[in-house]
């Protein structure tokens, strides 16, 4: 696929093809009118020129950290108190989550289609399938690793927990003592919440620091599903 893109001769009049990705239309006419052959320069490495379906989607950790740092301080300036700060970060993540599920589905479908003969991914309709999708696929796509633990709460049937021992968003952030119980991963929690919502699993997601000696940043993402979701699951699958 990438071979097509990097070929020097642009294909004319194709525009955007979702299977191939964006096509760069260059000034072919100029060279066509000229009798002398013009050497085509391979397109520069713009993000827009690259295939949407490439396997690697890497972002520099430093640029992410600086951007996220500004995001947090921007929200902090506008929030009165920790609760509101958490809510703001959550809200910022939420809008990403809504859209990200769509993109992730598309990408995953593409990868499974090309690597196996299966007919792509199915949409997850069971809670546990959806959570496993978040725990492995989503976590890998965003953070390059799977989450460390996925468990169901003993006390409440609606509650599930995903644990990350060293969350990327918190890696460089030490929360001062006056901001007790605040966790910057509220942003990631918002992304998860948005994804679950757009997949019709209405839920509240929050991030909590549960530190251990080895992992001072260990974060538990608490997912509280609506009772209606649990009920629906029971009716459908009788579990």
């Amino acid at each position: 696929m990438s071979r097509i893109l990097s070929s020097a001769k642009p294909i004319q009049g194709i525009g955007y093809d979702p299977l191939i990705g964006p096509q760069r239309v260059e000034e072919v006419e100029a060279s066509a009118n000229n009798s002398t052959s013009v050497d085509h320069v391979t397109p520069p490495n713009f993000n827009y020129d690259r295939n949407l379906h490439r396997m690697k989607h890497d972002v520099s950790l430093s640029s992410f950290s600086f951007l996220f740092c500004e995001l947090v301080s921007w929200s902090r300036e506008r929030a009165n108190g920790i609760q509101e700060l958490e809510k703001r970060l959550n809200g910022l993540g939420y809008t990403i989550g809504l859209k990200y599920l769509e993109l992730l589905g598309l990408r995953e479908n593409y990868i499974t289609n090309t690597t196996t003969s299966k007919n792509g991914l199915n949409r997850d309709i069971k809670i546990i399938q959806m959570l496993e999708f978040i725990h492995t696929t989503f976590w890998k796509a965003l953070f390059g690793k799977t989450a460390d633990n996925l468990e169901r709460s003993q006390d409440n049937v609606c509650n599930y927990m995903i644990t990350d021992n060293d969350p990327l968003a918190n890696r460089y952030i030490s929360v001062p003592s006056e901001f007790q119980n605040f966790n910057c991963s509220a942003f990631v929690a918002g992304i998860i919440e948005g994804m679950l919502d757009s997949a019709y699993f209405q839920a509240d997601v929050s991030a909590h620091t549960v530190e251990t000696k080895e992992n001072p940043n260990r974060t538990v993402f608490l997912i509280q599903f609506d009772e209606a979701v649990i009920k629906r699951e029971q009716i459908r699958f009788g579990s």
Partner: protein, 151 residues
């Protein structure tokens, strides 16, 4: 190598971080917090004066240089018991380390360069830190301690 003490000074000479390592067997006295501020300010001033004394012809400004920018200022103070090294970054942050006698200048500079990289990770990327203010970042302290033990 054994690092006895580490100071971080902002570009106007204010002390933003001070730490003694393994204070029990240290061989360096603890001062009052006010004295640390005075020490920092004095070193900063001497550094500036020495830099002013140096004729600029001898040290043309090098472009695209990273790492230790301390070209013309006070570089090292030697005493009977310990050495003090000064490292300056491009933005004017000063990293001062007090090390045991016998530690080479290269080793000390490498240590301070590592502190600089930890600083730019764990302090600069922390949204709760205000520029030029005292550093109160737990992760930064942890990393600096690990580094001092490793080197």
């Amino acid at each position: 190598m054994k690092v006895l003490s580490l100071y971080l000074l902002n570009k106007s000479g204010g002390l933003i971080y001070q730490r003694d390592f393994n204070p029990e067997s240290n061989g360096i006295n603890k001062l009052s917090s006010n004295d640390y501020l005075i020490t920092a300010g004095t070193l900063h001033s001497i550094h500036a004066i020495v830099a002013g004394l140096t004729p600029p012809v001898l040290y043309p400004i090098q472009e695209n240089q990273t790492g230790n920018q301390n070209q013309t200022g006070l570089f090292q103070v030697e005493t009977e018991k310990f050495n003090l090294f000064i490292y300056q970054t491009l933005t004017g942050l000063k990293i001062i380390s007090i090390v045991q006698k016998g530690v080479s200048q290269e080793t000390a500079t490498r240590f301070m360069a590592n502190v600089h990289s930890i600083y730019s990770d764990y302090v600069m990327k922390n949204p709760f830190y205000t520029l030029d203010m005292p550093i109160k970042c737990q992760l930064f302290s942890n990393k600096v301690l690990l580094l001092s033990e490793a080197s």
